[in-house]
């Protein structure tokens, strides 16, 4: 689809050249002369539907998805409310900027089979998407996952339409010869897919008791040029997630995703939920202030006690009451706010679901375990490690279930020929919940098999010589997991910010992140996720975005961007709350995506409290805060 005679975005493929070395291919490319026929482009998502400019013929009006939901009577509730607030928000194109250089190696055999070595969090899903892009049946494609982990955060989940399909097409020019393709650093920075830029129009109201009585959200997503299923995820999360947090009798959501000639958006940690809960978290903070309510109390008074579908157990109130209390106590104990100019703290709550549940047909995973005569265990799952600790988590689950030393477990390299089918891979914080459940099922299967073979109830010592004598051939068993549930993981964030009155720069001097992880199987890995998520949320709130002008990146030089560095987060405290999740293995929930969500609204609420500026856009720009300080009289104390 990206390989027709049209270019639709910066970074699109114009010409493909295979050479014996990168230098040869690059030299040849520089000799090429290309004639372009300029076509009209559409770069403003708000104008895309009515523009008359079609980005993809399959969507004549550029609308790829609409999503609606409502309950109650939101117009009546808004009209009759005690206090009402309406505002618009926009989120920027946050960038993954994964450090590992993006490479793939593609081989097309003479008989047409495709072999692709790449980084892919979701190997089987990658195979499916690649098959669609290159027009080959899935069973003629093998995906091999690079053994050296690379961070991903959604940036390496599956194929990038400008990358892997291009590599396969190039490989077809030289059947039987592997070709290597890479993104240069400026491509990785500027065209490799970003978080979706979303616009929100939010209208909300409270009754005389300060209870949220109406919430009306309109969302527009700019997807960029190449359609994918990710727009479904973005809009579904924008539609649903606020209701997992807040109780409201009258709700309406209308969302739309459009194509433009901007850089295509893709997955990024907490798809859609990061954006919508930022906007809602800021909006309700503002609404609370207008109603004369203190933000923390307002949140506590409006938390949902159960999911509106009745599916979630416990609900936001049960989970967050404890988290908010813990965080508030810590913030009050160590706050620098008293007496410090332009300094205050803000609070927000967030969540994301553990896994995907019934989204797009349900979730399933499988694991195979091979027990060798020497007692070594080899575990195969199709869910790679991208630094979150998946490999060690699965090895630990298996080893602990079997009562053996962790060193006995090897997790095998992953490819779609030898790893059992797993639908979604290492995404959506589903690893322990879905894949881990399959690993535990495989452990049970092995124990059953060994009991059967020894005709006893007891388990043999897998390292003993009598076991080796009995088990002369490797034994392979498999386990499965099917999941229709995707229970929410809730978190609270308190952020303290000091705004520099000469530059407008908001300095985040302290962050407390509290997340209910259900059960911390490995507390160190849980804390690591919370800490990394604070950095992700920081960047979303006050870092950089990919700024485009008529679809063209304003800069491809990383020095022009504000990525989070060590000196940006002087104090990060991470706290684990454990209220077990009944449906999770050992009571555990997913963490990686939920932990991001409350951070940015907390930071923005802190800015609001410190200097009275309500950012309508993230990342917040220093000059906008400075303009506000100048307009309102710099240094004037603004009560929170």
């Amino acid at each position: 689809m990206s390989l027709d005679d049209r270019v639709r975005q910066v970074g699109d493929v114009v010409l493909g050249i295979v050479g014996e070395s990168e230098r040869v291919a690059t030299t040849a490319a520089m000799l090429a002369r290309v004639e372009y026929a300029e076509l009209p482009g559409i770069f403003d998502a708000a104008l895309a539907e009515a523009s008359g400019i079609t980005v993809d013929e399959r969507f004549p009006d550029n609308v790829v998805r609409r999503v609606d939901r409502e309950h109650g009577d939101v117009d009546r509730a808004l009209a009759g409310a005690a206090v009402r607030h309406r505002a618009r928000y926009r989120t920027g194109r946050a960038i993954h900027f994964n450090l590992a250089a993006r490479y793939c190696v593609a081989t097309c055999e003479v008989d047409g089979r495709v072999d692709l070595l790449t980084s892919a969090d979701a190997p089987y899903f990658t195979r499916k998407e690649l098959a669609e892009h290159v027009g080959e049946p899935e069973d003629r494609i093998t995906i091999r996952v690079a053994e050296l982990p690379t961070s991903s955060f959604g940036g390496r989940t599956s194929i990038n339409p400008l990358f892997e399909p291009v590599a396969v097409w190039l490989a077809k020019q030289v059947p039987g010869t592997p070709i290597c393709l890479r993104f240069r650093p400026e491509e990785e920075l500027a065209v490799s897919q970003t978080r979706h830029s979303l616009e929100f129009d939010i209208d909300a109201a409270v009754d005389a008791d300060g209870r949220l009585c109406a919430l009306d959200i309109v969302t527009l997503a700019d997807h960029g040029a190449y359609p994918s299923f990710v727009t479904d995820v973005v809009l579904a999360n924008c539609r649903d997630r606020a209701l997992d947090l807040f109780a409201v009798d009258n709700y309406r959501f209308k969302g739309k995703a459009v194509l433009t000639n901007n850089v295509t958006a893709g997955e990024m940690r907490g798809i859609g939920v990061t954006q919508v809960i930022w906007a809602v978290g800021c909006h309700l903070d503002e609404l609370a202030r207008l109603a004369g309510r203190e933000p923390l109390g307002f949140i506590l008074a409006n938390l949902a006690s159960s999911s509106p579908d009745g599916a979630a157990t416990g609900g936001a109130r049960a989970s967050l009451t404890q988290s908010l209390a813990v965080g508030a106590e810590r913030m009050r104990a160590g706050s620098a706010t008293n007496g410090a100019r332009n300094t205050s703290w803000g609070v927000a709550v967030g969540l994301h679901t553990t896994g995907l549940g019934t989204f797009h047909g349900g979730d399933r995973s499988a694991a195979t375990v091979t027990l060798h005569p020497d007692g070594e265990l080899v575990l195969r799952v199709a869910a790679p490690d991208s630094g979150q600790g998946a490999t060690s988590a699965y090895a630990r689950l298996l080893a602990d279930a079997l009562g053996v030393d962790r060193e006995r477990v090897q997790v095998a390299p992953i490819d779609t020929e030898t790893a059992p089918y797993d639908r979604w891979g290492s995404v959506a914080s589903r690893g322990v919940f879905v894949v881990g459940s399959a690993v535990l099922d495989a452990a049970r299967a092995l124990q059953d098999e060994l009991r059967r073979r020894t005709a006893s109830d007891g388990l043999p010592d897998l390292t003993s010589s009598e076991h080796a004598a009995r088990v002369r051939q490797p034994i392979t068993v498999s386990g499965e997991s099917h999941q229709t549930e995707n229970p929410p993981t809730y978190g609270a964030c308190f952020a303290e910010v000091c705004v520099d009155e000469t530059s407008g720069r908001p300095k985040v001097i302290r962050v407390i992140s509290v997340v209910d992880v259900g059960h911390a199987i490995d507390a160190g890995l849980c804390h690591a996720q919370l800490a990394g998520a604070v950095a992700t949320g920081w960047e979303f709130a006050v870092g950089s975005e990919l700024a485009l002008s008529d679809g063209t990146p304003l800069s491809t030089d990383p020095h022009d961007y504000r990525f989070v560095h060590a000196d940006d987060l002087p104090s990060v405290e991470t706290v684990l709350v454990e209220q077990p999740e009944p449906s999770g293995p050992l009571g555990a929930r997913g963490i990686g995506t939920p932990a991001v969500v409350a951070v940015a609204p907390a930071i923005c609420n802190a800015i609001r409290s410190a200097v009275g500026y309500r950012a309508p856009h993230v990342p917040v720009r220093d000059e906008d805060i400075l303009r506000h300080l100048v307009d309102t009289g710099a240094g004037a104390a603004v009560s929170g």
């Binding site: 993954h96 900027f97 994964n98 450090l99 590992a100 250089a101 982990p149 690379t150 961070s151 955060f153 650093p185 991208s386 630094g387 979150q388 600790g389 160190g524 890995l525 804390h527 690591a528 800490a531 990394g532 998520a533 604070v534 950095a535 992700t536 030089d557 990383p558 020095h559 990525f563 989070v564 560095h565 060590a566 000196d567 987060l569 002087p570 990060v572 991470t574």
Partner: protein, 173 residues
């Protein structure tokens, strides 16, 4: 470096680069316009030094050149005649981890690991000049090393732990 002056000089070596890497001397006859980072990886097979931004921004390629923390992507091999380079492979000895590496392991100062060799080298450089850095000094020092995973919390813990290691164990590379 005093040691490198012992290498024989012969006529015809005028365009050559003499360089010591992790204690081993190399004589590169015609280095061409290759960066130190590419040469380490492609010619010496020392792939511990990672390339990412390739323009001195991210610090993933950090190595020591004459004890100075250097982005290997941003220096040319041919400009390093007579220099001594230490990469992450040159830390530790006899199969034992260097104390900084040990500290990163114990504090789990990494997730995907891509920035880690650069972080480790930056830590070695910091502690060589400032054996007991304050938290602010640590954060300032690492402003040139980007990490996308950890939020720097466990990295700073690893640096503090390494700083607390008795100096006798930290000497030498």
């Amino acid at each position: 470096m005093a040691e490198l002056q012992h290498l024989p000089t012969e006529t015809g070596d005028q365009g050559a680069t003499r360089i010591r890497v992790n204690g081993t001397d190399h004589l590169v006859a015609d280095p061409g316009p290759i960066t130190l980072g590419s040469w380490l990886r492609e010619d010496l097979g020392l792939t511990g030094t990672k390339l990412s931004c390739e323009q001195g921004f991210c610090g993933a390629c950090s190595v020591l050149v004459d004890d100075a923390l250097t982005s290997a992507c941003s220096v040319l091999l041919c400009d390093l005649d007579g220099c001594e380079v230490v990469t992450v492979e040159g830390l530790g000895a006899g199969g034992r981890l260097h104390p900084v590496q040990q500290a990163f392991l114990e504090c789990r100062g990494f997730q995907c690991g891509y920035c880690t060799p650069g972080m480790v080298m930056a830590t070695v450089a910091l502690l060589a000049t400032s054996p007991h850095p304050s938290d602010d000094e640590i954060r300032d020092h690492f402003a040139g090393n980007l990490c996308r995973c950890t939020g720097y919390v466990s990295i700073c813990e690893a640096v503090r732990k390494a700083a607390a290691t008795p100096s006798a164990m930290r000497s030498g590379t």
